[in-house]
């Protein structure tokens, strides 16, 4: 491999000496950084799990109990009330909607979790952003796992549920995690700049939840309500995840482009605000 920098030539290294000799060396350096970030993420996620579940006999499985309990309660509620959902597939409707919402919520709260780094950011290379990204990454992994883990118990209960489409699920949960992470960054920045807006931001989370498609499908709610709810990008993701479970689930009025644009736009503003505030701190 060609030398990466002037540092290996034996001369006193200066940043100006770090001239990369080829595109290959640049790529190698880039992958080294990614590998380093991966080590950090893995270490942070595992440490965070260890801290949260030390002394708990059920260990890490506690993580799926809360979403499982909420989904079960809502499944019975929807089926008893005979709510109008496409295809009357209550299990798919509940799991698809709630798992997307939980991914979004956990990823958005990961940005708060970075307030309690327990000294890990004193280690060279670990920044608060690593803590935030690790939280969002864990939300993605956990709920992707959850989406598959619920299939077998549902089949045992006689539900006609199949494992969701992998590619679609990866895109759905990935976008939900990115959307949550970016939304969390923007909210954290707003609360830091204008602290009196904290209750408004909290209320906004409720508004996002109610309109996220966990209780309704765009196809079954009255048009005057759907006109407003359709602006929530989470409803598109929820509908697509239901479609990932059951290919007959209608998705002709939703798109993945819309939540993707929201996720990227919010990520841009959130990261810019975080950078600007980091300088100010």
């Amino acid at each position: 491999m060609p030398p990466l920098s002037g540092a290996e030539s034996g001369f006193d290294p200066l940043p100006g000496d770090g001239v990369l000799s080829s595109a290959y060396a640049a790529a190698a350096r880039r992958f080294h950084v990614l590998a380093e970030d991966w080590l950090i993420m893995r270490a942070l996620i595992l440490r965070s799990l260890r801290v949260r579940h030390t002394g708990n006999p059920l260990g890490i499985f506690v993580e799926v109990f809360r979403p499982l309990a909420i989904c079960t309660a809502h499944y019975f509620y929807f089926s008893l009330m005979q709510r109008s959902v496409p295809g009357y597939q209550y299990a798919i409707f509940t799991v698809g909607g709630f798992s997307i919402w939980f991914t979004f919520q956990a990823a958005s709260r990961a940005t708060d979790g970075a307030k309690y780094p327990a000294g890990s950011h004193n280690i060279p290379g670990i920044t608060r952003m690593h803590l935030r990204v690790a939280g969002a990454l864990w939300a993605f992994i956990l709920y992707l796992f959850f989406a598959y883990a619920v299939v077998y118990p549902l089949q045992l209960l006689g539900q006609p549920v199949k494992a969701p489409d992998l590619v679609l699920s990866l895109i759905d949960y990935g976008l939900a995690a990115l959307l949550g992470f970016s939304y969390g960054l923007v909210c954290a920045a707003i609360c830091e700049v204008v602290p009196p807006l904290k209750p408004v931001v909290k209320l906004m989370e409720w508004a996002v939840f109610i309109s996220s498609g966990v209780y309704d499908s765009l196809l079954t709610i009255p048009v005057p309500v759907a006109k407003y709810i359709q602006y929530n990008p989470l409803i598109d993701l929820a509908e697509y995840q239901r479609h990932a479970y059951y290919s007959g689930y209608p998705i002709f009025i939703v798109t993945l482009t819309y939540p993707a644009i929201w996720a990227l736009g919010l990520a841009f503003f959130g990261l810019a605000a975080n950078r600007a505030l980091g300088r100010r701190r």
Partner: protein, 210 residues
Amino acid sequence: MIHLAGVTMSLPTGADTTPFLRDITVSLPTHLRCAVIGGLAPNRTHFLRLISGKERPDKGEVLTQTRFSIIGNAGSYFHPGLTGLENITFCARRYGLDAWSLTKTVIAFENVDADWPAVTNKLPVKRRRAMELLVSALLPYDCYLLDDIEQVPPTVLEPLFDIIAARQAGVIFTARTPKQVRQFGDCGGVIGANSLQLFSEVEEALAVHG
């Protein structure tokens, strides 16, 4: 080497800021044992944070390719809710090292009280600090940073410098008393009057510091 080029830095004091370094240009060796004395203790800590990249200067640039260690003795990095073993495992994972080998190496240093019961239980603050210092010395860096070495028990400090010497790495440490500076320093820097003066001999630095 680490080069501070035209660095100006202020420190927050309540709602206001106090100038700490003003337009200094200096190069510090990162392959020697460099003692930094003078100024207030928090200023010395900020200086170490500045060269480690944890803080940015208001003006100027800090130029280096050296990989600096965790700043020993300036803030904890072990999670208090985890055992010594779990914390060592976290550090090993972060650097892609074998956690088991790192733990065994820590335990090999008996004089820091890092026996099996110590690593498999939650640690009291003093033991945790000692183990943090030892683990940071065992992790691979080019230059180690150590704050306020008078606070480190001699039973930990000596093996710490031995490990660093065995690695042929440098150390930049801050100290208050001439005794520690003479014992561990090859060269010295003096912080004072918004400046940093560097001397190739520690005795010169001590003479200027007074």
